[in-house]
C-alpha cells in the first residue's frame, strides 16, 4: 500500500499535469524535471487538455496480479494533442472497436483496488471522444 506515492501523483493521475521546458518549449508528460530534449531544468507545470488519439493498443488476456477483476482490458499508447505519448487503459468501449488514430479523451476511473483494507487507486483512462449535441 503505497500511501504517499499515490497521494504524490494526484496531479498527474487526476489532471494530467506535466511540465513545460522554458528553454526549448517541449511539453513533458510525465514530469521529469530535466528536459529530455535539451537537458535543461524543466520545472514549470503544464496541464494537458486530455485530448489525443490512439497510437497503439493491445487487449490484455493474462493480467498481472491486482488487475484480474477488469480483464480483459485494453492498454493503449495515446498521443496527446500537445505532443507527448501516455500509457493508459481505454474505457467505455469494446476492444474490437479500437482503431489506431481513433480520437479519445481523458476520464477519471478506478485503476485498481488493493483488497478489503487497501487503497482504491484512481487515475486517467481514455474513452472515445463524446460528441456534444451542437456538433451533430
Amino acid at each position: 500500500m503505497r500511501l504517499s506515492a499515490n497521494w504524490r501523483h494526484r496531479r498527474q493521475r487526476l489532471a494530467l499535469t506535466g511540465e513545460e521546458c522554458k528553454v526549448c518549449g517541449a511539453r513533458l508528460f510525465p514530469p521529469r524535471d530535466v528536459c529530455p530534449h535539451c537537458h535543461e531544468p524543466a520545472y514549470e507545470p503544464f496541464e494537458f487538455g486530455g485530448r489525443g488519439e490512439v497510437y497503439s493498443y493491445s487487449t490484455v488476456y493474462q493480467p498481472p496480479a491486482g488487475y484480474e477483476e477488469s480483464a480483459p482490458y485494453t492498454m493503449a499508447l495515446i498521443k496527446l494533442e500537445e505532443g507527448p505519448i501516455v500509457t493508459a487503459q481505454l474505457t467505455d468501449m469494446d476492444s474490437d472497436e479500437v482503431r489506431i488514430g481513433m480520437p479519445v479523451e481523458m476520464v477519471t476511473r478506478k485503476l485498481r483496488e488493493e483488497g478489503e483494507d487497501g487503497l482504491i487507486v484512481y487515475g486517467y483512462k481514455f474513452r472515445p471522444v463524446l460528441q456534444s449535441v451542437s456538433q451533430r
Binding site: S56, P64, G66, Y73, M75
Partner: protein
C-alpha cells in the same frame, strides 16, 4: 586494458524445475562451468538475476550462491538490469578481468520463475517497465511488447502471420538442443492459430516463463591457454540505454540502444554486421527479433520480418539466429538468458553444438535486451585458434 577470454561454460536444462530452488540451479551451472574450465575457485562471482526478491523472497544472491557453490569467502554480488541482468553480469565480469583487478571471475545468470502463481509472475515481470507511469495502469510485460508489435504492423502493412518464421526457426533449432525447454519443431499453422496473451502477441510469439541457470568462467586471454586448448576471446562488450517507458522513446519502432550497443561492439571488434557468423538475439517476442535485426544492421526498417520469411535466419541462412532455440524455444529464465546466449555462442565457436553446429563459425554475437529496449548489452565472441 587486458584481453579477456572464456575458458568454461555451464548450463542447466531450461524448464519447470519444481524440485530445484534458485540457489540449486545456480550451483549446478557454476560447478559445470568450473569443471569445464578445470578450475576449482575464482576470485569473484557475479550473479545476474531479476526476480529473486519478487518471486523467491531472496535477495543477497552473491554471498548466498557463493557459499552454496563451495566458494565461501570470495567477492560476490548480484547485478540487475531486468531481462538484461545476465548480460549485465557478464559485462561486469569482463570489466573486472579487463581492468587487471581480478584474474578469474565466474559469471552466473539464474532465474526461478515457477515459484509463484502466474499472475504474480506476470506482475513481477512488469517491474521491467516504469512503475509510476506504465505499470500502475495494468499492462503486463507482454502487452508493452504488443503495443510495439501493433504499431509496427500498422506502419508496415503486416499481419501477425508474417512473424511466424521467427517462432518456426527457434523451435526447429531447439529440437536438437538437449537443454531447451521445447525440443520440438512447430508448423506455421500452429503459430497462426495460437491463442492470444495480449493481442497481437500470441503464445507462439512469446518466450516461455521458465527456470534455469547458466555460467561462464572469464580469465585474461594471456592466461587462458593454461586451462584450455579452446579459449573463446571476448572481442567486444558494449552497453547502451534508452528510456524505460515506451511512451518516452523518441522513435517507438527503432531500438536506439540496440543500435548504439551493436555499433560500439562492431567498432571494438573492428568488423561489420556482415562478418558475424551467428547472432543470438533477444527473441523474447517475435517483434523484438524483427526490431533487433533492423537496429543491428541486418535489415532496413520495417523489413526485419522479411529475413524470417525468406529463411535468412536459419542455420544455413545469411544471418543465423536462435541457433539453439533462442528465448522462444530454449526458454527465457529472464536473468539467466543473457548468459545462456553467450554459453550457446561458445558452444558454436568451439564446434560443440551437435546437430546444429554451423560450419566455419568464427565470430558470434549475443545481444541481451532489458525491458522493451531500455538496456541493451552486446558481446562479440571469437575463436582464438
Amino acid at each position: 586494458m587486458r584481453d579477456v577470454s572464456i575458458i568454461g561454460i555451464g548450463q542447466t536444462k531450461v524448464g519447470e524445475h519444481w524440485n530445484r530452488s534458485l540457489r540449486d540451479l545456480a550451483v549446478d551451472a557454476i560447478l559445470a562451468a568450473l569443471s569445464d574450465a578445470s578450475l576449482e575457485r575464482a576470485k569473484a562471482l557475479y550473479v545476474g538475476n531479476m526476480l529473486g526478491g519478487a518471486l523467491s523472497g531472496q535477495q543477497h544472491l552473491g554471498a548466498l550462491i557463493a557459499d552454496y557453490a563451495g566458494l565461501r569467502g570470495i567477492e560476490a554480488l548480484s547485478i540487475e538490469a531486468a531481462c538484461a541482468s545476465g548480460g549485465a553480469a557478464v559485462r561486469q565480469g569482463y570489466i573486472a578481468v579487463a581492468s587487471g583487478l581480478l584474474d578469474s571471475v565466474i559469471v552466473c545468470g539464474v532465474e526461478k520463475m515457477t515459484e509463484e502463481v502466474g499472475s504474480n509472475t506476470t506482475a513481477a515481470l512488469a517491474m521491467a517497465g516504469d512503475a509510476e507511469y506504465e505499470v500502475i495502469h495494468g499492462p503486463s510485460f507482454v502487452s508493452l511488447n504488443a503495443l510495439l508489435m501493433r504499431r509496427y504492423m500498422h506502419e508496415n502493412g503486416l499481419k501477425r502471420e508474417d512473424f511466424s518464421g521467427f517462432s518456426v526457426n527457434a523451435h526447429r533449432n531447439a529440437a536438437n538442443n538437449p537443454n531447451a525447454m521445447f525440443q520440438r519443431a512447430i508448423k506455421p499453422e500452429v503459430f497462426n492459430r495460437s491463442r492470444m496473451i495480449s493481442d497481437p502477441i500470441s503464445l507462439m510469439d512469446s518466450s516461455p516463463i521458465a527456470d534455469g541457470a547458466a555460467a561462464l568462467v572469464l580469465v585474461p586471454t594471456e592466461l587462458a591457454r593454461k586451462f584450455t586448448d579452446a579459449p573463446v576471446r571476448i572481442a567486444a562488450s558494449a552497453v547502451s540505454t534508452d528510456s524505460v517507458a515506451l511512451h518516452d522513446r523518441r522513435d517507438l519502432l527503432f531500438l536506439a540502444a540496440a543500435y548504439r550497443s551493436a555499433r560500439d561492439a562492431y567498432q571494438q571488434a573492428d568488423i561489420g554486421p556482415q562478418d558475424i557468423d551467428l547472432f543470438e538475439l533477444h527473441d523474447a517476442f517475435t517483434i523484438m527479433s524483427a526490431l533487433s535485426l533492423e537496429a543491428c544492421g541486418y535489415a532496413e526498417r520495417g523489413k526485419g520480418v522479411d529475413l524470417a520469411r525468406d529463411g535468412e535466419i536459419s542455420l544455413t541462412g545469411r544471418i543465423p539466429i536462435s541457433a539453439m532455440g533462442g528465448l522462444k524455444a530454449r526458454g527465457n529464465p529472464v536473468g539467466a538468458t543473457g548468459v545462456y546466449q553467450i554459453v550457446e555462442v561458445v558452444q558454436q565457436l568451439r564446434g560443440q553444438a551437435g546437430e546444429n553446429q554451423l560450419p566455419d563459425c568464427r565470430l558470434g554475437m549475443a545481444q541481451n535486451i532489458g525491458g522493451t529496449g531500455a538496456t541493451v548489452i552486446t558481446h562479440i565472441m571469437e575463436t582464438s585458434s
